[in-house]
Amino acid sequence: MKDREGYTHVASLDAEHELAVEDPSGLEYPKPATARRMILNMGPQHPSTHGVLRVVLELDGETILSARPEIGYLHTGIEKQCEHEKYQQVVPLTDRVDYLSNLNNNQAYALAVEKLLKLEIPAFAAWQRVMLCELQRISSHLVWLGTHALDIGAMSVYFYCFREREDILKLFEMYSGQRMMTSYIRPGGLALEPPRGWHKVTSRLVERLARGVDEYQNLLMTNPLWCQRTQGVGGLDLDTLVELGVTGPMLRAAGMKVDARKDQPYGAYPEFDFDIPTRTTNDVYGRFEVRMDEMRQSIKIVRQALEGMPSGPWQADAPNILLPDREKMKTQMEALIYHFKIVTEGYRVPEGSVYAVVESPRGELGYYIVSDGTAKPHRVFMRTPSFGNLQSLGAMLEGVLIADSIAAMGSMDFVLGDVDR
């Protein structure tokens, strides 16, 4: 069976060049009659591709000559769907783009719509957003750490990471009623009032996470197997990385101090004190260290948010955009009218276009929204970090061993829902 470029799918033997078998252990292997240039299809169901990514590898023995990522297996047409929903109905769709960092997606969309509406949100809502997004960053990095370590062969880290992640998801459930598809950050503020006792629960959670992060790093960083598998693997020079559109932790591990939270601050981030961790090793190990340090910085931010959380309303005062309080609807005529109008017609957004950026756990996440003055967006383009990062995979895998490709792919931390949209 051949695909459209004439590559044979299963394996093909190519008798063109002779292969010298040299084994460092000195054991003698029977030499194959012919040398091999093999086309191997990795994925779309390979467990280390974390979703449905297909990589067509051209191999010489175990060395990758070229790698061609094929995407689109998870294309759901979310951008098309957005054009046919009202502005408030787009929010649940943004959850499903990058399902490991849905709150960041919610926030990027909310920021874009708020910019178009010229809507200011109250400080309490902005601070809650920061706190929740940082917890989301930790939970996303925990999933990455667990699965990445599992790919390389460290099983137990996975269980620890998912245990702590579950606690974060429980907090999200407490906030929004949903573990993963929270839709909690909406244009104009938050979806619901933060639950009673959120402060106590979050403080306790953060203390646990702070202990956990150090533990997991100690589990891995002193492990000689982990170091051998990750150090010096998966590098690509910085200029190529930038030109290929890579953002986020991958750039920071190559020594570039970039972070949308600092460079072009949004929301309440200017009021927080945190650092951007960087490394100069530019390999899988460097990315591991950068992400571990990012978790520590996120914990620092959450602690600051817990200490200095301002009081105030959790939604902007915009009755024509935000659904009214249930109690008011039963007693006030205006609230009932606004509710009816928002649910049936939606709200109109002034004509124009905007591009709003947040720093998601994977890199630069931007929403480009074009409004034609109606209640439905004319175009929503999601600039997702995984798409840009994945583009560097082909260049990164050239000349490395198959086993290293697993480590390199894991270190990119892509989410296929984020790539294909």
Binding site: K115, E243, S353
Partner: protein, 161 residues
Amino acid sequence: MLPESVAENSTALAINHQMPGAIVDAVNAADGPVLYIDPVQIVPVCRFLKDTVGFEQVIGITGVDWWPRAPRFEVVYLLRSYRHNQRLRMSVRLGEREEIDSVTSVWLGANWYEREAFDLFGIVFRNHPNLERIMMPADWEGHPLRKDYPVHGHKYSYRDE
């Protein structure tokens, strides 16, 4: 002549100085100016922006379909400069059957974004190294993000059953 709305913008001034007439229009959006570039000059403008002004990265390239208005398409370029900590948004207006030069010779990262715009809008980028569908299957008919493409699909729809 530089449009008045961006007469103060240093990037617009630099482009206008180097290539007079390349900026055909400009608007001030909520997040900064948007420069409308002459489609014929898109590659020289991008080359100048990358090499001289310092926009090292193309963050994204996408399309907007204004059907039934004419010109039908708008190609949007989102650029990022780390050196100057700046962003720039450029647009190009394109008619239905018009083609545009690919900027993959300027930024390698434009490759997938242009493929995506080709796949979903049917905008053809000349001199692209590998202009194939990227999201949809290779034998797919139509371009899903066009406004005249129904949201439930014109083929294989559950409505046919």
